[in-house]
Symmetry: C2
């Protein structure tokens, strides 16, 4: 029974659940225990309204219950959504989050890692661009979208499957002659697999395809030249275009309109990411949706997992397709 007028302790939980104190400790700290034990402990925790005291725990276990997130910014909607969902996943576990926005600066990224290690965070989650990033072995690290070696788990969506899905969707919607437009980091990273996935999908469905790949993230202008070079007798020769991001897709939509091509009637357009305007309204375009809440949850789960053997080097989470007005599978009034 819980004592009157005092907060329930771990001992009270053990008594209520009829298990050993060590079992409660394991559940509270996310260590593996049998399912039936875990359920009994969780029910007792709920019944007694037992609150894990993170601060006291920190003093005891030499933990800070603080995790640093390294991310370029929170202005790009994909980064903004990741930041939010990682924050929620951490706070749910009574962990605090240090936010470190890096502006894509490799030096800044390394500095924040040193700062984070200096201040003894329990771990770091990073979406970084520094190919030579040095992370001390004793600081748990989870990388987003880029493999950093076998000891560091990487979480991404299934970019290959996403590219393949885009090609299959365009084939299902009647396209025969498609294009893939890409701009982005020249670093080896997971999003680059969208290209090979798309090629695989095109080959398996018999679509003829062209690729236009730029490495500089800021120079969208060459796409306009590429697209106008493919207009014959006033009509674009592609009937489907897959853009590597929704951001690029929105730019291409404007370019196509400027070239008097109708979307989706003349050419259908699929982007990638699943960004919605104002964060929660319409999709900007028809798109392959990244499972951001699940990716965030997985980052936190892997970071805090104590069993190192259970940390896989790469976790790819499933993507889905969503209609957003730039394809022929929905109401023309939707999308931007």
């Amino acid at each position: 029974m819980q004592k009157e007028n005092s907060a329930p302790t771990m001992k009270d939980v053990a008594k209520e659940a009829g298990v050993a104190l060590g079992t409660v400790s394991k559940v509270v700290n996310g260590l593996p225990v049998g399912d039936s034990y875990r359920i009994r402990v969780e029910e007792a925790i709920q019944k007694l309204n037992y609150q894990v005291n993170s601060y006291a725990q920190g003093l005891k276990a030499n933990r800070t219950y603080t995790v640093a997130l390294l991310i370029p910014n929170t202005i790009d909607p994909f980064y903004a959504a990741l930041t939010y969902h990682i924050n929620v996943a951490l706070l749910k576990r009574k962990y605090r989050m240090l936010l470190c926005t890096t502006d894509f600066d490799p030096k800044q990224e390394q500095e924040y890692i040193l700062m984070a290690q200096h201040n003894k965070v329990d771990g770091i989650i990073g979406l970084t661009y520094n190919p030579r990033l040095i992370v001390e072995e004793n600081t748990p690290f989870v990388a987003i979208d880029r493999s950093m070696g076998p000891r560091i788990p990487c979480v991404a969506c299934d970019n290959f499957a996403g590219g393949q899905l885009a090609a299959e969707k365009l084939a299902d919607l009647g396209c025969k002659n498609v294009a893939f437009l890409r701009t982005g980091s020249a670093l080896v990273n997971e999003p680059n697999k969208r290209k090979v996935g798309f090629e695989t999908g095109c080959l398996s469905r018999g679509l003829s395809y062209e690729m236009k790949i730029l490495d500089d993230a800021d120079s969208f202008s060459e796409f306009e030249t590429f697209l106008s070079d493919h207009i014959v007798d006033g009509k674009i020769i592609f009937d489907g275009i897959f853009c590597v991001t929704d951001r690029l897709s929105c730019h291409v939509l404007k370019v196509l309109r400027g070239l008097h091509q109708r979307v989706p009637e003349d050419v259908q357009l699929i982007g990638f990411d699943g960004i919605r305007s104002f964060g929660s309204m319409d999709y900007y375009c028809s798109t392959i949706v990244q499972p951001v809440p699940e990716m965030a949850e997985m980052c936190v789960e892997l970071l805090l997992r104590e069993n190192l053997l259970a940390k896989p080097p790469l976790v790819c989470l499933p993507v889905t397709y969503a209609f957003g007005g730039t394809t022929l599978d929905g109401n023309a009034g939707d999308g931007c």
Copy 2:
């Protein structure tokens, strides 16, 4: 002169600048000193590449060099931009930021404040919705968009001037009969001044106006009824509409298109906030732009200012107007 092979100290900076050690300390800690002294110290800091050691400073001064930000989420683009710029302003000063997303939950807000105080943050910046939020006197707090009493500085954009500017802009663009549409928190807050500012602008420029004000942030549907009730012989009687946010403005744009009204030819539309698609591309609509980087800088500046007398209860920063395709003052191709 700086010693070889060791990081420069505050003493080295004082020697280089030719000032007392206390003067360097004041500059480093943001305390007031004469401009000529401050410049000499800053030049010496730059020349010697002196790095303030926050962690050692923290131990010495009983500071944590950590600030908590309470904000509903980072998914809404306005909150996302605020979070980013506050993060940058803090990191620039070698302060770390604990991010606490609250999802508008008053209980959650109070809990995070307790947590922040427990973990001895040096201060809290909060965009909160709990009208009964309790903040301990010894924790510096800066509120965004809502006055919380004379001891707590509030930072906002000049919402009154923004409303007035919207009315004046519509008048300049030839409007005679305008409407104001609002939804939002029923709490007394700074954004509510957009309404009185707009009324003032309408009165001074002789515009006739109607208001439709809803309190529930989620029920945009009543606006559709309001707008269709004001269509006479297939044409809307308003020639200008001011929406309290860009988000609402984008919704109204869709509603108007559904009602076969042309924007901006039949009716011009101005929103508020200055949100850009994907965080940095086009404005969604013609809009009154909040100075987010300046607001972020001001929040941090006021929070860390030690001279309590220099903390004003309310700071309103100037807004500007930006064309975004939904008014008659630009190229029709711009905007969404």
